[in-house]
């Protein structure tokens, strides 16, 4: 059977070139990067190369790159570390309603400790208003955390504008760029970003490794107590192979960004136009202006059918996607991101995210369109909400 992976926003495979670069660091150059002997120094050299590659990719200094275990840790560290260090200055944080749980739940945890958090609304395409952001700033605001690009519907925020506002009011600006790194050009200095989270496995690097970029001069609390790794800011033996892999992955991603995006956007755009043409009663979620969304993302809500059913039927045909379905989460709420952009609750249940990758082909895309058309048709036949009367769809 065909095997078509359209869930690259969940994770990517590790690029074979990346894997090749990693392999020696498991068996040959396995020293502890903190050791003084040659085995350690060789490992450290590889870690330094990775640090330089990452710094170059986002326009910062190598000394501003801190290795972590992934996006969630970077988000937690940036926000909690900021709160801990600057709580005397203020207890107010501004973020958005559509952040990843790694940010939202971190903010909720701080609220329980007495912090005040403003969760900015987004418009019906998922973009915040910089005017509302500016109005939300108070004397006690110590941090603005706005994601670079959304993981569900790919909306890209006006990051440079947000950075300029943060700079004007001298407030630290953190961005969760887990979905953006490798897909969108990033320059932390030009964009006035003070902290940025990334995760290796979203750009064809290995899982369980990430980075927090932190501007030199900005002080935050430590994430973990222990050894003195990462300039005494993040304890724990350095994960050399994973860091080497992430360094290679980001270099490849930035080098090939334009070519990859052209290819991916072509497939995505064809897919979107086919779905809208061939399937009635479907909402295309997120920015309609494709320049305001990630090239890899297509997100639809299919009326009268439930997301998990669509996901499972596609899975049976070898097609791997994600749903914002509530049912599997145990709560009865569908995706808060979909609700935040104004998708009606009953329609939000029928939401599916298709995220394309560099290895997908036009032939695969056509196959997915064909399968999807028949799956939606079949599930609607089964739905008590959908009655086709003389070609007219009525909602009962």
């Amino acid at each position: 059977m065909k095997e078509i992976y359209l869930d690259h926003s969940a994770t990517t495979y590790t690029d074979p070139e990346v894997l090749q670069e990693m392999l020696p660091y498991f068996t040959e150059v396995f020293g502890n990067a903190s050791s003084q002997h040659k085995a350690g120094r060789e490992a450290l050299k590889a870690v330094d190369t990775a640090r330089e590659r990452i710094a170059k990719a986002i326009g910062c200094l190598p000394s501003e790159v801190y290795f972590t275990s992934g996006g969630s840790e970077s988000d937690n560290w940036a926000i909690k570390g900021m709160a801990e260090m600057h709580k005397d200055k203020g207890n107010h944080i501004i973020t958005t309603k559509i952040e990843h749980p790694a940010v939202i739940r971190t903010c909720k945890a701080l609220e329980r400790e007495g912090f005040e958090v403003t969760y900015l609304d987004v418009d019906n395409e998922g973009i915040i208003s910089t005017k509302q952001l500016e109005e939300a700033i108070t004397e006690r605001t110590i941090l603005i955390s706005v994601m670079f690009a959304n993981n569900e519907m790919g909306a890209i925020q006006p990051i440079a504008e947000i950075g300029a506002i943060a700079k004007k009011y001298k407030i630290a600006f953190h961005t969760d760029a887990v979905q953006a790194v490798g897909n969108v050009p990033i320059d932390v200095k030009a964009m006035n970003i003070d902290m940025l989270s990334m995760s290796g496995h979203k750009f064809y690097g290995p899982k369980g490794v990430g980075v927090l970029y932190k501007r030199n001069g900005l002080r935050i609390g430590k994430f973990m107590d222990g050894g003195e790794q990462e300039r005494n800011m993040r304890a724990g033996t350095i994960n050399t192979p994973a860091i080497v892999g992430m360094g290679k992955a980001i270099e490849l991603a930035v080098e090939n960004m334009q070519a990859n995006n052209e290819h991916i956007a072509k497939l995505r755009d064809y897919f979107v136009s086919q779905v809208l043409e061939k399937i009635p009663n479907v909402y295309f979620n997120g920015p309609k202006d494709m320049s305001k969304r990630l090239a890899n993302n297509a997100n639809f809500s299919f009326e009268y059918v439930e997301g998990e059913s669509i996901l499972m039927r596609l899975d049976m045909q070898g097609i791997r996607v994600s749903s914002g379905s509530a049912c599997s989460s145990g709560s009865l709420e569908p995706s808060y991101v979909m609700l935040s952009i104004g998708v009606p609750i009953e329609i939000a249940h029928g939401t599916i995210r298709f995220s394309f990758g560099k290895s997908n082909t036009m032939e695969q895309t056509q196959y997915v369109v064909d399968q999807l058309v028949s799956i939606i048709d079949n599930l609607r036949e089964m739905s008590p909400l959908f009655k086709e009367i003389k070609g007219e769809n009525i909602y009962v």
């Binding site: 439930e306 379905s325 509530a326 036949e381 008590p384």
Partner: protein, 123 residues
């Protein structure tokens, strides 16, 4: 996360549709919570001779709809009233814990369809 039996019932559900001249119809759930189930029954001399369903919901909701309608065919209405979601889940050889609430709908829809049948009878 679903076992083969559930996947089979979801992939090839039985009794999909609506009985136009049904003797009892039960519809439960609502679109905002993500699962709606509608069961229609044809009943002769208090015996369920046909059952069909239409479901908006997840794979577990569809699988339990199919299985429950299979199970009640041939039952008397009294027997069908005793059908619990637990028995439906047993026939499916289990559901993931967070999916048990979806199976409750099948039990409720059948009960509601029989109530509808009885209220029509008493008219």
């Amino acid at each position: 996360m679903y076992n083969d039996k559930v996947m089979e019932a979801f992939a090839h559900p039985k009794n999909v549709g609506f009985i136009e001249d049904a003797d009892g119809v039960g519809k439960v759930g609502n679109a905002s919570c993500g699962d709606i189930m509608e069961i229609s029954l044809k009943i002769k001399d208090d015996v369920i001779v046909d059952a069909k369903f239409r479901t908006f919901g997840c794979a577990a909701a569809i699988a339990t709809s199919s299985t429950a309608t299979e199970m009640v065919k041939g039952m008397t209405v009294d027997e069908a009233l005793k059908l619990t979601n637990k028995k439906v889940v047993e026939v499916l050889e289990g559901l993931p814990p967070q999916k048990i609430h979806c199976s409750v709908l099948a039990e409720e829809a059948i009960k509601k369809a029989i109530e509808d049948y009885r209220s029509r009878q008493s008219k």
